[in-house]
Amino acid sequence: MGVGWSPWTALMLRRAFQVLALAVLIGTVCFFIARSLPGDMAMRIAAGRYGYDLVSGAAADAVRTELGLNQPLLVALLQWLRDVVSFDLGVSLISGRSVLGEVVEQLGATLVLALTAVLMAAAIGLPLGVWSGLHPGGWVDRITLGLAVVLRATPSFLLAVTLMLVVAVKLGALPVAGDANAGGIILPALTLALGLGAGLARVTRSAVLDALASPAYEFARSKGLSDRQALLRHGARLAALPVVAYLGVHAVFLFEGAVIVESLFAWPGIGHELVHAVFGRDVPMLQGTALCMAIVFVLFNLLIDAVCLALDPRQRIGGRS
């Protein structure tokens, strides 16, 4: 990026540009995908709105007239772009509610779920990974490796049903689904967290091993710091970098996993909504949802970059030179 900008400004400018480009690209792509899917759009929307008992040719006609689906493609696309610029994402073709309102509500639910999952994953993965890194080849290391392989290989669907059966049905400790007040978030978050935590433990382990083997750590030890001091002041920061980067990459998978987990646990999140929007040909909802998800990704990446920048003085110096 340009000379004279601080690394922070450069980062912000880069991401702001990305958000804009993404918005236009995603909105346009979604629009064309939804329009080019096989089947009649009005009929799909009618089926989405009224269900299989009431969907009919007459219903589709009413939908077509109401929504002006006969207007040319380009006109509809330009109209959407104009609305986006004025922060108007339109109304859902199926429910008739404001897209922005629905997305904010559902994205909020998904974010709460994803953040809880990240915190759980960190609580599980970090201590195990650090311990394994400090004692490579020990029994914790070996058990973590075994667990990581099993958990990463288990599809979230299977994991979710197993957790429901064991924790909710057999132990009766938590609700199976859909009760946000009575700890209903714990099982879906745990489903997402177990896989993520398993990966996190392995990445943390290698990061800690690498940090311990680095010249910087060796120097810290030779200047007279105790193991504990050297680890906390020098090793931890060094090891944190790959861990943070790993979390950034895997947040994407978290959203992906949320589609299945949300529909299983009846969690009113955005993954669930996106699937419905695709089936119902709800173009504004599809565009709005995809757009907001993309923005969240960019913001999340921004956060990760910022954390890395704050953690790693080398990046800040490199940016200035």
């Binding site: 009929m43 909710a168 049905v169 400790a173 609700p175 529909s263």
Partner: protein, 513 residues
């Protein structure tokens, strides 16, 4: 900075919350929890009105007995003029909306007018005018007599909501009904919470709070029932039902619904215009096998279109549809189809290949479609299955591209099947009914039923005659009937299921012990 003490405190708090969550699940007086597959797809009565009528949050002008006979609802009485062209409905004077305002004829007329737009079923009624007569009488004037009007006024799309429910643009913004329950929390598409409405003019229900959750997956619903979280779990898949039957804390109650799995046949196609070919298709279907292996309920194999629960329409004199591959092959040979190495061919050497459309909203449909495909292969007919969207069948009907369509048709959409049958088998056929087929005697019988101006005996005879014609001509081929199976927790009693799926009948339920 998070100190260790803070962490411990928070941990203890989390543990306490978790513990209380566990306890709450077992405490006897949490809200009655219902779980079902039906999502709230928008607040307009045509979209999701059924969610609110079933929860008894909203009322329709009329209700219906199990057999479809009209009962008073919001309208305490009604009458029809001698010429059958004007209907008068008088509202219960003490009825109140949940915002405290009285239920007026004007409020009801506004909702009925909205329900006249397709696809709401009232759009099928020959209505000339809906008007008020004083504060509490609604007059509906018709262009021609229509005996199904009371049934249509029991459909959820005609539910009456308060004027305050509508936004300035005329769309529905909230659900302010007049039923015994009022909404305390509504989070579309999944959650509705209700509490007893103190201003209701009828008896006070014993269950004071109810919670409805839409859960998309059958596994989730079954596990919610099994864990005791759900008191009533609807839409259970056959595999889960088998497992749930063994549980001590649950009972499974069931009721036959007026819904049938049907195969819509394009009788306009050269290959299918011959009734013998349609009969052969029907004879090749092992309905018993499908009902036993796929639906896990051998009694659901259809012997005719209308299930026995549709008492007035189920014609006991008809010979049952039977599985007879030999007869099927003989009928095809009679119709000029010859067996070749790769299936049947006609005199010109054209192969007998068809495309079957179905949709996955009802999970059993795609599986039944593949079973049909295998069974027809036995008699030499090659069928390709295409699983799409429920709109594909009406679309194929309209543009003529449909060959075979597998759907689940609800003949109890409104309590009187006449309207649905007119849609399906009237002139020009219907989206989920006949295609390229019509019958004059059937049309006559239906229009007499619609007008309702002949004797009751004649009407009864007409219903049986309709069942007979449909059985002989097979414009749609019945496959199976339906049974609603509900898992019931042991903490409630007084549960009865509504075969018309209009209500959960919450007001009749009470806590056990």
């Amino acid at each position: 900075m998070l100190t260790r003490r803070d962490a411990l405190k928070k941990g203890a708090l989390a543990a306490a919350l978790l513990g209380s969550g566990g306890l709450m699940a077992q405490a006897p007086r949490t809200p009655l929890q219902i779980v079902g597959p039906w999502e709230i797809g928008g607040l307009a009565p045509t979209n999701s009105g059924f969610v609110f009528t079933r929860l008894q949050v909203t009322e329709t002008l009329l209700n219906a007995q199990d057999d479809g006979t009209p009962l008073p609802g919001l309208a305490e009485r009604w009458n029809r003029s001698a010429d059958g062209l004007s209907w008068r409905f008088t509202l219960r004077p003490s009825a109140r909306f949940h915002d405290g305002s009285p239920v007026t004829a004007a409020a009801a007329v506004r909702c009925l007018e909205a329900a006249r737009v397709a696809p709401a079923l009232l759009s099928l009624a020959p209505i000339r005018l809906i008007e008020t007569e004083g504060a509490s009488t609604i007059v509906i004037r018709l262009r021609e007599p229509n005996a199904s009007l009371p049934a249509m006024l029991a459909h959820s799309s005609t539910m009456v909501i308060a004027p305050a429910s509508y936004g300035v643009d005329g769309s529905v913004r909230s659900i302010i009904g007049s039923g015994p329950y009022r909404i305390t929390q509504l989070t579309p598409p999944q959650l509705v919470e209700c509490a007893v409405f103190d201003g209701y003019d009828g008896p006070k229900p014993a269950i004071d709070r109810v919670r409805y959750l839409a859960a998309g997956r059958a596994e989730t619903r079954a596990l919610m029932a099994e864990s005791g979280q759900a008191d009533l779990a609807f839409g259970l898949d056959p595999a889960s039902l088998v497992r749930l039957r063994g549980k001590r804390n649950l009972t499974i109650v069931s009721i036959t619904l007026p819904r049938s799995v049907i195969l819509k046949v394009n009788a306009g196609l050269p290959a299918l215009t011959d009734v013998r070919v349609r009969q052969a298709l029907s004879h090749a279907i092992d309905r018993g096998g499908i009902a036993k292996a796929l639906l896990r309920d051998p009694e659901l194999a259809a012997t005719q279109l209308f299930a026995p629960s549709l008492k007035a329409w189920h014609n006991t004199a008809l010979p049952a549809l039977s599985f007879d591959a030999v007869r099927a092959k003989a009928l095809l040979a009679e119709a000029g189809w010859k067996r070749a190495a790769d299936g049947l061919r006609d005199a010109k050497g054209q192969s007998f290949a068809l495309k079957l459309r179905t949709f996955p909203d009802r999970p059993e449909l795609p599986i039944i479609a593949t079973a049909l495909q295998a069974q027809w292969r036995e008699i030499g007919i090659n069928v390709q299955v295409s699983v799409g969207n429920s709109g594909d069948i009406p679309l194929g009907h309209r543009d003529g591209s449909l060959q075979l369509g597998l759907a689940a048709r609800n003949y109890g959409n409104v309590p009187d099947p006449t309207g649905t049958l007119l849609q399906d088998f009237g002139p020009g056929g219907g989206d989920f009914g006949a295609m390229g087929w019509s019958s004059e005697p059937l049309g006559r019988a239906l229009s007499e039923l619609k007008r309702g101006d002949v004797s009751a005996e004649k009407l009864a005879a007409n219903r049986l005659e309709i069942a007979r014609i449909l059985q002989a001509e097979l414009p749609v081929i019945p496959i199976s009937w339906y049974r609603q199976q509900v898992a019931l927790s042991s903490r409630i009693r007084g549960v009865s299921l509504d075969p018309l799926e209009r209500s959960y009948r919450l007001t009749q339920m009470s806590w056990r012990g």
